[in-house]
């Protein structure tokens, strides 16, 4: 999937903006991983967003779907798959919170069937040019990764020998899959080309 450069910059700027709010306002020892309790509190209070988070209960679904985001006339609802690991809860919540922060008219979509028909093939097609709602699915994840596992940290890690992604995942309290994805050459190159 090809992501428009302008939107990439917008998403990374939003991640930087929230990181700065977190740095100034979070009641948290910043030597630890970024706290999603604090991020949620800041999004709701400091940034004044009306966000309700719940878990959805459906054991039949497996984990094909880990999170759902709704915008409901200026309010936001986030639903997380019940029973996920703490690391996945943290990451999916962060990603959905970036949908709140990146919300704008042009990226909305309520045609669920069309959204899926466009989104699923786009994930595996490196040259696809999907519409904005699909692009924002990916950008929200990139922004979450940037907040929780900053590019600057990743650059330092990549200079080290014998990088153990399991240890890194524990340090940042992230799923190993996410750590591996964002340490990959492709992810590092894409983000590097958009960092100021």
């Amino acid at each position: 999937m090809i992501l428009p450069s302008r939107n990439m910059v917008q998403c990374l700027d939003k991640a930087k903006e929230l990181a700065e709010v977190y740095r100034m306002e979070a009641h948290h020892d910043r030597s630890h991983s970024v706290s999603m309790d604090e991020v949620l509190r800041l999004v709701c209070t400091y940034l004044n967003k009306d966000v309700q988070v719940q878990y959805f209960l459906d054991s039949e679904t497996g984990d094909h779907i880990r999170g759902v985001f709704f915008e409901v006339t200026g309010k936001y609802e986030i639903y997380l798959l019940d029973g996920m690991s703490l690391e996945w809860i943290r990451f999916v919540l962060c990603k959905e919170l970036f949908h709140v922060l990146l919300d704008e008219d042009g990226c909305r979509n309520c045609a669920v069937d069309d959204h899926l028909r466009e989104m699923i093939p786009s994930f595996s097609d490196l040259h696809s040019h999907p519409g904005s709602p699909v692009v924002w699915e990916v950008l929200a994840e990139i922004a979450a990764a940037e907040l929780m596992f900053p590019f600057a940290d990743r650059v330092v890690l990549m200079t080290q020998e014998n990088v153990d992604t399991t240890v890194i995942a524990q340090r940042y309290s992230l799923p190993v899959l996410i750590v591996e994805r964002y340490l990959s050459d492709n992810a590092m190159q894409v983000i590097a080309s958009h960092m100021a």
Binding site: Q54, D58, I65, V72, L116
Partner: protein, 65 residues
């Protein structure tokens, strides 16, 4: 009813209650069939619409300075 027909029914219900944007965090691979994802999404949206949810509680992941 096919998964996509279920999604269209759910979409109408969501719009009735004011939902203007829906997004997902999916766990799919290039081999995952679209129909399978659509079916899962329909299951989840039906669960949410039916109120099969529970409150989110603090994760306790803040290490206070």
């Amino acid at each position: 009813m096919s998964a996509f027909n279920r999604l269209q029914t759910l979409q109408a219900a969501l719009q009735t209650r004011g939902v203007r944007d829906v997004k997902f965090h999916l766990n799919v691979t290039p081999d995952t069939a679209l129909e399978s994802v659509a079916s899962t999404v329909a299951d989840v949206l039906e669960a949410i619409q039916a109120g099969r949810v529970r409150p989110f509680e603090a994760l306790g992941d803040a290490a206070h300075a």
